[in-house]
């Protein structure tokens, strides 16, 4: 059943093959990139039950750039993880580009993450043993029918878009914080995902570098129509986005 649902959704969505990764993303019939309906996330241990999210209803239009704000422990990162399919909600529905995710297997969830979602983390999470270009190539390693040279070409293109074409063979430890975050952005966008999820992308950077990163993200959103959801504590950066979603104790407050 899971496989049938996945294959049906895939055939509706991805009319272009993986080999045509350089083409613009396919526009699904729905205009919402993300829809969350009554989403709930509860963490249970033997002694404690923690409600991280409750009754979250959120729609994000295709090409929208929103930020999620709230105090610590309000559920921002949990929400981002649920949207990014890194975590499974306890209740409710998650629909990504028209695909209802609930019934998907681990393998299919991995595939959706690989093809439609890109992640940018606060602490970059670059692999220190790999060069910049090898780090950026990681999402493409898990795509089929992509040759060595195509993968390398796409990685170089992504690095070019974030202004790091001169650093391709450096190691992450040889870059500044801002540069590392650019590499992380390049890694997130190399597979041309429709959705970018950024968890405090400027949290470890000074204000100037933070502004640079925001400029890159804004550029991606305006020039390429990438849907971006950004978790941030920074009011100034959130005001550069189209909409702010506020969470408090796991609930939306706006």
């Amino acid at each position: 059943m899971r496989e049938e649902n996945f294959e049906r959704d895939q055939s509706m969505m991805n009319q272009t093959s993986i080999a045509e990764a350089t083409a613009l993303p396919y526009k699904p019939p729905t205009t919402n990139a993300i829809e969350l309906e009554e989403v709930e996330k509860v963490y249970r241990t033997a002694k404690i039950e923690t409600v991280a999210l409750t009754n979250v209803n959120l729609s994000v239009r295709d090409g929208e750039f929103i930020s999620i704000m709230g105090p610590s422990g309000s559920g921002k990162s949990t929400l981002l993880n649920v949207i990014g399919l890194l975590d499974v909600p306890t209740g409710g529905k998650v629909i990504i580009n028209g695909q209802r995710i609930a019934s998907y297997s681990d393998k299919n969830l991995a595939r959706v993450r690989n093809e439609q979602i890109g992640f940018i983390f606060q602490t970059f999470h670059l692999i220190n043993d790999l060069s910049v270009v090898d780090n950026v190539e990681i999402p493409l390693l898990y795509r089929k029918n992509l040759s060595n040279s195509d993968r390398h070409k796409l990685a170089l293109q992504a690095l070019d878009r974030v202004g790091l074409h001169a650093r391709v063979h450096h190691l992450p430890s040889q870059l500044s914080g801002g540069q590392q975050q650019r590499v992380a952005i390049a890694r997130a966008i190399v597979g041309k995902p429709r959705i970018l999820l950024a968890d405090e992308p400027t949290g470890n950077l000074d204000s100037q570098m933070g502004d640079e990163i925001m400029d890159v993200l804004k550029g991606l959103n305006e020039n390429e129509g990438t849907t971006i959801i950004m978790v941030t504590h920074d009011q100034r950066q959130s005001e550069k986005t189209e909409r702010i979603v506020r969470l408090f104790d796991g609930r939306q407050v706006n």
Partner: protein, 419 residues
């Protein structure tokens, strides 16, 4: 697939170099274990494997030890068999094509130009040279007629030839051994010391023994080997031998009236000795089984140590790489793909350890050979041992990678990203 594998290898090497000490520990554990196992297997192969002159081991049985008991059963006399027993009771077993009698090797001394030469001498009948296929470098063997006629002839090995005659031929010349003089009729290639049935430096007919007392002994210093038509004859030979034991007439039945012995393969004798079972009809079944079981258990236990070590190291490595695993999962690596990556890393490390182990094994075996601890021994890795060792290395890699890979696959991406 090739690209993915190349990437796996690239990452694997970077991981190995990241934690050099752990990599060294892993490689040391694997290679040391393999060296010990390869050397042990090489030894076993050297002692029991098919090797000239024992080319018909698959259809040869022997009697290597015997025992007599007193009427009460409290006292026993153990030794090799006696000439009288073999000659009178143990010839012409059904299924046996040929039978040979020979003594244990005895250390003797010779003197040449003031130098003392130490040798091992074995007395045999003529059939000895028909059952065992020695490589004659000069001349040929003596025969049953030489034995019957008490001819003082001898076959010597190549090392003994050089000791006595340098680079000259030895056939037709005389050597003095333990105050006896023998005419050399043949020179054979050296036989390793650990091949106890054929081994000696000098072979001479039984009738050249200094005394004749051996002819009346039921228990003594003789062993016998029997060449069967095929291994299918073994059960009948064994049964008949047991029946013959019951026919023995004892010269002094008040003192000794029971005789025990087994006709068995060399390996059966070895394994029986290993478990200290001796001369009962039960032990011929238990001995080899227990020996093989003990060897297998020893190998498994020995392998377990580095395997457990590798598992522990790999589990701790996984925890170090939790962040990387989280990133890969976030960007689309399924659990199966990650397990594959990890297993390949592990197998690669094991293969490298295996290669080091093989190289070290060759060095160790060469050192043992050249040490002279085992005269005329030539320990080497042959292709069979190489293949077994290679498979062992792969098995290591898989076993020590399965649990850590499974643990890694269960890491939740969110938890993994937190490190």
């Amino acid at each position: 697939m090739v690209t993915m594998l190349k990437n796996y290898f690239k990452i694997a090497f970077k991981v190995f170099l990241r934690r050099k000490f752990f990599t060294f520990i892993s490689l040391f554990a694997i290679s040391f274990t393999l060296v010990v196992l390869m050397v042990a297997v090489s030894f076993l192969d050297h002692i029991f494997g098919k090797m000239s002159p024992e080319n018909k081991q698959d259809r040869t049985l022997g009697v290597f030890s015997m025992q007599m008991k007193c009427p009460s059963g409290d006292c026993t006399m153990s030794a090799s068999g006696g000439y009288r027993f073999f000659d009178r009771y143990a010839r012409n077993l059904p299924g046996a094509e040929k039978m040979s009698l020979f003594t244990e090797q005895e250390k003797v001394y010779s003197y040449k130009n003031g130098d003392k030469i130490e040798s091992y001498i074995k007395r045999t009948d003529g059939k000895f040279w028909e059952i065992l296929e020695f490589n004659f470098l000069e001349g040929g063997p003596y025969t049953d007629d030489d034995d019957k006629n008490e001819n003082y002839v001898a076959v010597i090995n190549d090392t003994t030839r050089r000791k006595f005659f340098g680079n000259d031929s030895a056939v037709g010349k005389t050597i003095e051994v333990d105050a006896q003089h023998f005419r050399v009729v043949g020179v054979v290639a050296d036989v390793p010391f650990l091949r106890q049935i054929p081994f000696a430096d000098i072979w001479a007919p039984i009738t050249t023994m200094k005394t004749r007392a051996y002819r009346d002994e039921l228990i003594g210093s003789f062993m016998a080997i029997y060449q069967a038509h095929s291994a299918a004859d073994f059960p009948a030979m064994k049964a008949e031998f047991q029946a013959r034991l019951k026919q023995v007439e004892f010269p002094d039945p008040k003192h000794w009236n029971q005789m025990y012995g087994l006709i068995e393969t060399n390996f059966e004798f070895f394994s029986r000795s290993l478990v200290h079972e001796f001369v009962t009809t039960r032990s011929d079944r238990i001995g080899p089984t227990l020996a093989i079981t003990a060897i297998i258990i020893a190998i498994i236990l020995f392998m377990l140590l580095p395997t457990i070590n590798l598992i522990n190291i790999n589990v701790s490595r996984i925890m170090e790489r939790a962040s990387e695993i989280g990133v890969r999962k976030a960007f689309g690596a399924s659990s199966r793909v990650l397990i594959g990556q990890f297993m390949i890393e592990n197998v690669l490390l094991t293969l490298i350890g295996g290669c080091i182990g093989f190289a070290l094994s060759r060095i160790v075996l060469r050192l043992i050979t050249e040490s002279g601890w085992f005269p005329y021994a030539e320990f080497q890795l042959n292709y069979r041992i190489f293949v077994y060792g290679f498979l062992l290395a792969i098995f290591f890699g898989l076993i020590s990678g399965v649990y850590p890979a499974w643990k890694m696959s269960r890491l939740h991406p969110v938890q993994a990203l937190k490190g």
